[in-house]
Amino acid sequence: MVTRRDFFKITGTAAGTAAVALAGVETAQARPALDPDRMGVLCDFTFCIGCRRCEYACAGENGLPQGALESYDDKSLLEKTRRPDRQTFTVINRYPALAGQSGSLDVKVNCLHCEHPACVSACPVSALVKNARGPVTYDASRCIGCRYCMVACPFQIPAYEYNEPLTPRVMKCTLCSDRILAEGGIPACVEICPAETMVYGTRDALLKVAHDRIRNHPGRYVDHVYGEYEAGGTSWLYLCDRSFQEVDLPAVANQSPAEVTEAIQHGIFRGFTGPLMVFILTSVILKSAGKGPGQAREDKHE
């Protein structure tokens, strides 16, 4: 039989080994600081003319089915609300003019590249990464295909290649990270836009531009820069003439959903305090419940 001393020696060693082994995982978790000059895109829906050239450029840049430029002149597609999918990383949706105003509103939808992305926090194997310069990028070679990123995304952006039997990928806008992380490049959609709907620049500068526009053009915009605070802030910033919920952008909390889950995870597992406490508590109960008169204490009821 195991003696009392043996017991504590063995449990102690096991607990210590577990703590050391797992502490390595725990310490690797601090979120990397974001670059103060990180980039973003300001997208002013009131400028968009619905030409869909951004969709064309995006498809070409990302090797997605592109088709001829002329095929994008088909404006009937604008009438139905589309979502980005595995073959389209950005889409334009058209909303009718506000009462008493002329001209409809065209709204560009794509990954917002959160400042504190829930998808990155959710990914168990770091296939999704937030680059300090702004983009949230995806490395298919790391991915296990759990699709927890899709559950986590507060904007419901990532799409999946369900019909790929062996190498399905999570599909979403990359903010043209290959272009912008090389000096001087700008995202393909921003580059092709003929209406100057989008401005590419540092997020801080864009926020100033956005607020200046709202101040300088009273009546043109709602006083809200979508993405300034949404879900903890996003790299894409939107200006709109009406409530963003009317153009199907969700009313999400100003805190990243990952903030809460990370607090829970770290609250329980920081330094393995939680598991260690359960371990010690269970050991103590096991040892003390076994003492006393008659080693095997049976309940006498029933």
């Binding site: 995982v25 770091s126 759990c146 559950v151 986590a152 829970i264």
Partner: protein
């Protein structure tokens, strides 16, 4: 197959299970060759469906009997419950094995699962990493906990065929050393099993906390991890009772009512704590507002709570009913159903994506695969019970 039971291995019921298992494996083959899209109704709005909701989330909850019975019998030293530890341990070991298989079927790139162990890749922020890691470690612990049963089965009975007969003595010796070593260190693994179970049962609840705008307010709460853990405690014991009665009936063995009834007394207390946390949180969040809106979610919540918590709670608190096998079995089954429904509600019915065109309804092949996997699990349970000394034998008491 040596038969330690009064009934044959193959029965009409077993034949049905074999057919269901074969159908499930056929779906698995289609999934492997043509992809998830060929057999599931999953889409960009509903990335998780039946396989995650039942095979994984519900599977983990219902396998909680492993650590809860071990806790009662070995940590609290209520040794009379030891007769339930082995069957529950077998259920847990098989259950978690199938949770792992279920995950792999659902993973788009299952062959990358080893990335969990590649330095630099694991993400400790991810509740899913925590769940996966703990399930993996706990599965190892469960297999180790099962080893003494293997030793007991073969010690003194090693009889290798033909030329291998020369090795009989050696194998016998190895088994003896293994048994002695396991006996010395088993306490550690029992405690580790409790720790790992608490960790991942709760983290399974953390998974959905990252989707506050998608999970219906009747279930969304930041204390979801605690509720998952509390319900796992209750369902672990209920599952041990449920399967004990089921196995006794199926194998024509006497019921173990003298341990089942007293064990069942604990369940109402655990249910009270679980349900209390649900009600307090509901009042706190004001989510009772969603109860009378007639939505499928409100109905699902009421069924989950009334059938899964209130009714069994009342039955098990009634001394007279608790001692009647029929009532006890019904109550245990209701708790099992209630917690299963809770997991299904959290992962499937309560999951309301932002831009969905309609609800997710599992495709027929998804159901066939899930039913097939459960059938294989039941068949393996039966096979193990026939081969190994899992169930309590008359006049013989197991010591783990």
């Amino acid at each position: 197959m040596s038969n330690r039971h009064a009934v044959p291995f193959i029965t009409p019921g077993v034949r049905v299970l074999l057919a269901l298992a074969a159908a499930g494996l056929a779906v698995l083959a289609i999934r492997l060759v043509w992809g998830l899209g060929a057999v599931t109704n999953l889409n960009d709005q509903y990335p998780w469906g039946l396989w995650i909701g039942i095979d994984v989330a519900t599977g983990v909850a219902l396998a909680a009997g492993g650590f809860t019975t071990a806790f009662v019998a070995h940590v609290l030293h209520r040794h009379k419950y030891e007769v339930l530890v082995r069957p529950a341990l077998l259920t847990a070991a098989l259950g978690y094995t199938f949770v792992g298989l279920g995950v792999c079927v659902d993973l788009g790139r299952y062959y990358n699962i080893w990335h969990y162990f590649v330095p630099g890749l694991p993400n400790g922020n991810s509740a899913l990493f925590e769940v996966g890691m703990c399930v993996c470690l706990y599965l190892t612990v469960l297999y180790i906990e099962f080893l003494p049963i293997v030793c007991e089965r073969f010690l003194g009975r090693v009889n290798l065929p033909g030329a291998l007969r020369a090795l009989n003595g050696l194998v016998e010796g190895v088994l003896r050393v293994l048994q002695r070593t396991l006996d010395r260190v088993m306490t550690i693994f029992i405690i580790l099993g409790v720790v790992l179970s608490c960790a991942h049962q709760s983290s399974l609840g953390t998974l959905m906390v990252i989707a506050p705008d998608k999970l219906h307010p009747l279930w969304f709460t930041t204390i979801l991890p605690m509720q998952f853990l509390l319900s796992a405690f209750a369902v672990g014991l209920a599952m041990a009772i449920f399967e004990s009665i089921l196995a006794s009936r199926s194998l024509k063995r006497p019921l173990e009512m003298d341990v089942l009834a007293p064990l069942a007394r604990i369940i109402p207390f655990l249910l009270t704590i679980y349900f209390g946390s649900k009600l307090i949180d509901m009042v706190n969040r004001g989510s009772y507002r969603y109860l009378d809106d007639g939505s499928p979610q409100s109905v699902a919540w009421l069924v989950e709570v009334i059938v899964g918590v209130v009714l069994p709670w009342a039955i098990l608190l009634t001394h007279r009913l608790r001692r009647r096998p029929g009532w006890l079995f019904s109550a245990a089954a209701m708790v099992v159903l209630g917690v299963a429904l809770n997991r299904i509600n959290v992962f499937i019915i309560g999951y309301k994506p932002l831009y969905a065109d309609g609800p997710y309804v599992p495709a027929i092949p998804e159901i066939v695969l899930t039913v097939g996997f459960i059938s294989i699990l039941v068949l393996l349970y039966r096979a193990f019970v026939f081969i190994f000394p899992v169930l309590h034998d008359e006049g013989e008491v197991h010591h783990a």
